[in-house]
């Protein structure tokens, strides 16, 4: 089944399409829309990280934005101190990865699952929101970086070419970097899910008890998946801090945590494309709704979510996939005229 879904042909086609879009969009889209698109792409990386953890690992994490925020803060604090962005970029992946590993270790090895896992991860995120918000005093300084409490950290230095702090990345460069990162993570995750490790992760989602009885330590595989997802979310946080050149505790807020889950629900769990599609679609709708005064944006988004949960519970991508397969593999029924000719 997995082999069927993730054949190499599909992967090559998806990669080619991604590259074409990446190269073509800046030529046809106006600069304001490019700024929006860049944020969509960055958030799609965050959605993809939850798509891995929840859709394939079966781990319902309500606190994916915690790793996103930690990555963003780790980058911002480090780049202000170091000047050069090479090490800060690495730290934005390593620090949230380690945090995910530590949190996951205590949760998975204590056999905390399902809704309890979701509640704890959400609580951790909200604790981070409060903690970061309480750092507004002048004593809350790391090196030369003032954390700033709810005011956040402004003027975050942009990424630069490795070893050359004077060669900062332009805004177009950030779009290409974000797009290539999204594409690379998508391809990497598809290859990982086709590997032995990925198959064990999926098998644990299907039947954890059975996988353990075959000799696989489910806790380890879930921890590894959770850590990878945390590191990816952290990288997205780094790009987000670059996009706005600003970071504040809002990234740990309830709204941020909830919207990642909505993207994945709308796009569809159990696929990698689903979270990306869901993220782009919902963000685009939110942008359009935000530009008008007639309807309350949150009310419309809530209605859309309820509609999806009730009418398209699998999400957009799996539903389209199912419909396509039904059409493709529909048994052939001869027209009546032909049937009558049969002797």
């Amino acid at each position: 089944m997995i082999a069927h879904w993730q054949g190499n042909g599909g992967l090559v086609a998806a990669t080619a399409l991604g590259l074409v879009l990446l190269l073509a969009l800046p030529q046809v889209v106006d600069p304001v829309m490019m700024i929006e698109l860049t944020s969509y792409v960055i958030m799609a990386i965050l959605a993809l990280s939850l798509g891995l953890i929840w859709g394939y690992g079966g781990i319902l994490c309500f606190g994916q934005s915690a790793f996103f925020g930690i990555g963003a803060y780790a980058y911002a604090i480090a780049v202000i101190n170091f000047g050069d962005s090479t090490i800060p970029l690495l730290l934005s992946i390593i620090v949230p990865g380690l945090f995910a590993a530590l949190l996951g270790y205590f949760l998975f090895y204590a056999r905390i699952t399902d809704v309890y896992f979701g509640v704890i991860t959400l609580t951790v995120t909200l604790i981070l929101y409060k903690v970061m918000g309480a750092t507004s005093g002048s004593q809350y300084v790391i090196g030369t970086a003032a954390i700033g409490g709810y005011n956040g950290i402004p003027a975050v230095p942009p990424l630069n070419f490795p070893g050359r702090p004077d060669a900062a990345l332009s805004f177009d460069g950030l779009f290409y970097l974000s797009g290539l990162t999204l594409l690379a993570i998508y391809v990497g995750l598809r290859l990982m899910l086709k590997s032995r490790f990925g198959q064990v992760v999926v098998a644990i989602r299907e039947n954890e008890r059975r996988a353990e009885l075959l000799g696989y330590d489910a806790r380890f595989y879930k921890l590894a998946t959770f850590t990878i997802g945390g590191a990816i979310a952290g990288l997205a946080g780094c790009l987000f801090a670059n996009w706005g050149m600003f970071i504040s505790p809002d990234v740990f807020g309830l709204a941020q945590s909830a919207q990642v889950i909505i993207w994945v629900i709308v796009g569809g769990t159990g696929t990698l494309l689903g979270p990306i599609v869901g993220c782009f679609a919902i963000q685009w709708i939110a942008t359009k709704l935000g530009a008008q005064q007639v309807l309350n944006a949150n009310l419309v988004l809530g209605t859309i979510l309820i509609g999806f949960v009730l009418l398209v519970p699998k999400g957009v991508v799996p539903t389209i996939g199912d419909a396509f397969r039904r059409l493709k593999f529909r048994p052939y029924v001869a027209p009546l005229v032909e049937q009558r000719r049969v002797p």
Binding site: M1, A3, Q199, E206, R209, L213, L214
Partner: protein, 230 residues
């Protein structure tokens, strides 16, 4: 191979097993017979670590595994084919088989398993949920054997299976017992199947072994009536 001493276990505060003790040698097949609710499945689930041991000791290949996790016991060489087979429904037959290869160090188990069970050859790409009950049972057995266990625990492998597949399973297990020295603990209601395979039979009642008989004694109506009331 396995030595169980004074084993107690249960579900929460409800004790089910009350001091089970037995030993088994390599290549031996032990049948366990008993009515429903006597603790047969609980015994197997305790041996594989799905249910915690509350008292007693389980030693496998000279190693104390009483408090080892299910995955550690599986890696030590204890395989388990539960009631209902528990195959991965969304994974293909091939992927299900590969899941069993953990102890092979990268070597594929698929050719060997297809040699043992040629009926799976034409089903390799089919998802597990698309198989019949008999095919699922064969797949579950093949997946368990793919991990090269030294001992396998079978929980009612003939339940709901057509007679030709039951015969195939019995024939294959008998063959593997001899060629690989495979130990088998067989929980089964089908007396004919137990007679075909077992070297000895333990009767379980209310969570404890009450008698040990030879498979030939299962032909004796009086013995069967005395122990099983059937």
């Amino acid at each position: 191979m396995i030595e169980v001493k004074n084993l107690h276990s249960g579900y929460g505060r409800i004790p089910i097993l009350h001091g089970i003790s037995f030993t088994m040698k390599q290549g031996e097949v032990v049948g366990i017979l008993g009515h429903n609710g006597m603790g047969k499945t609980t015994l197997l689930r305790t041996l594989v670590g799905q249910i915690k041991t509350t008292q007693g000791r389980i030693e496998f290949d000279g190693r104390d595994v009483t408090f080892a996790s299910p995955s550690e016991r599986a890696r030590a060489g204890i395989g388990y084919v539960p009631q209902g087979r528990d195959i991965f429904p969304l994974l293909s037959v091939m992927e299900n088989l590969k899941m069993g290869e953990i102890m092979r160090g990268g070597e594929s188990a698929v050719p060997e398993m297809l040699g043992h069970f040629p009926v799976l050859k034409d089903l390799l790409e089919r998802p597990g949920r698309g198989l019949s009950g008999g095919q699922q049972q064969i797949l579950a057995l093949a997946r368990c054997l793919a991990g090269r266990p030294k001992l396998i625990l079978l929980d009612e492998p003939t339940e709901g299976i057509q007679p030709s597949i039951v015969d195939l399973i019995a024939e294959k297990l008998g063959e593997l017992k001899v060629t690989l020295g495979l130990g088998i603990i067989l929980v089964e209601q089908d007396i004919r199947f137990i007679r075909q395979l077992a070297d000895r039979v333990l009767i379980i009642q209310k969570g404890a072994f009450v008698a040990e008989i030879s498979p030939d004694q299962l032909y004796d109506r009086e013995v069967v009536d005395a122990h099983l009331g059937i």
